[in-house]
Amino acid sequence: MNHDIDVKKLRVNCFRQSKVAGEFMIQLRVPGSLIKAKYLAVIQHIAETWGNGTFHIGTRQTLNAPGIKYKYVDEVNAYIQDYIKEIEIEACGIDMESNEAGYPTIGARNIVACIGNSHCIKGNVNTHELARKMEKEIFPSHYHMKMNIAGCPNDCSKAHFCDFGIIGLTIPEYMPERCIGCGRCATVCKKVATGVLELVNNKIEKDMCCCVGCGECVSACPSGAWAYSKQKFYRVMIGGRTGKQTPRMGKMFLNWVTEDVLIAVIKNWQSFSATILENKPLYLHGGHLIDKAGYHRFRELMLKDVKLNPEAMVAERIFWTETEYRSNINVKKPIA
């Protein structure tokens, strides 16, 4: 039986095609992955009323209800009006119309984030607050982009494997007058980070060159000789991706940028995409888009009118390291 369903249109509406003909899965955005627990009732209601009673935690931290028959799409869209309004318009401050048409676009995907410093002892930044600010810059837009936000360089939310990965950093401040010379920060830095600290005659010397900004030295310190910088900093990884052809880890684009700079940069994503795609919002991974533009063109467009903070560093060039499934030169049958 031919349902005559425009699956592309539905996909843009955040309903994903099922292998069961005529069934779809709704994906509710959860920007920054933290919302009030009461919204679990929303996805439960959708799943039990229109879906197959199950619920999937999306790989990009969306709330998904599979098994929704096509005929219920309008009902579901009407039902999620309040959810979209409360999350996107009220919590993220997005200037968009509230209606019964469901999500206006799938474009920029849900912003993935770890729990961040609202809970985690390792976190340097509040990932949810940042995600909501970022959501406002990238949604709703038909231009595709996957953004992940990690609260610290542990990168639990895989900023290294998305188009635009943001990692929260600190430049810890050392107060030698509070230091007891135990060297624990140096030991911990060596063990879990990059070993940039050295205890020299009972005080710490730091090689700022290779500091990853994780803040482990601060939490390791028994005497409060280290403090998180009052200013929060970010690292931006670009062009990471998974996929069938050329998966690769993202590379560092910016280091030690402030939130203002970060927002100014991300504001340029739409115009960068429009320029490279000649104003056609094609479904093209951000990494491929950067490849299409070339890194230097990408950098030029993304940093347009951006005033960098004094600490900021920008990649001069990028050496991508891809897994080339099309060559497979290193994979051979073992010799019997």
Binding site: C179, I180, G181, V218, P222, S223, G224, A225, K230
Partner: protein, 352 residues
Amino acid sequence: MGLQLTNAQFNQVLARLSAKYAIYAPKNFPLEGRYSDTDMVRYDGITQVEDIVFERKSDMSAKEIVTPINETIMFFFNGQVQESKIPQKEILIFARACDINGFKRLDDIFLRNSETPDYYYQRRRNKIKFIAIECPSQGWDTCFCVSTQTNDTSDYALAVKSTGESLKIEIKDQEFAEYFADFAQNSTCQYQYQPVLENELKLTLPVINSQEVLTRLKNHPMWKEYNRRCVMCGSCTVNCPTCSCFTTYDVKFATDSETGAGERRRMAASCHVDGFTDMAGGHTFRTSAAERMRFKALHKVHDHKQRFGDNMCVGCGRCDDRCPEHISFSSMIQKMHTAVEQIKQELNHDSK
């Protein structure tokens, strides 16, 4: 009879006091806590009531004022040595009963542990007078000052209780009455310093009454869990109001200096931290976390008492507040008490 002054009025008193006294109090240091976006409350110089944190127990104790984490004790120049100087001003410290009682323990070590008082401690200690801060009626949930009998103090010149917008003040040392003369007529109220009389936590301290009990407690399996739990960071000792250990070390200002200019410093040390017992030849005592925990714990509730008569621990609970591994010293005290009672029973049984 007491006084009740608005914060603004008390600030006038502080301004007058500051001519003669350096005034220290627990102060908030925003974003300087152990974890991101958390604050640190520690002692520092203050100029107004609004600087003082009354609603929260300080993370660090008041000992830092008289035994700074780092202190230069002498300078070297051209083969000559010169002791360091400290400011002339007298010192006033806003402190809670636990901290004031903590100073009594520091006095034990620095002033009474040998025939000669410690010069560097004494020169500051002689200048100190306390302004007692009245605690919430039960203190905080980690406090056990009533169990350690360090909940009260009479060693204060003034006592204060904050109501938020104003301070109730008891003037105990009449030398300070003159600073309040302007308000003596119109601002009187009924106020007298009230110690905490009951904590949420109620502990029984171990009574180690013989060498054999001590030896068995040292060898008790209760310490083993700390090999797994304690990371030997020393946080519990750095913020303890009674931990006073330090290491002396030298700094040379320039490696190629012909004058040999440099200085000798004291720096806080911790028996939990690697290197505390290291000798030049390479020998180390107490290498495991369990041994170090036992060493510290027994010092707090037994060894110091053996030597000076008072338990060292003042029940402020700061060690529990600050431990990154959530090891609770108050729980450890209970475990020691249980172990000691069990040991005493065993010994009774053995002797029958």
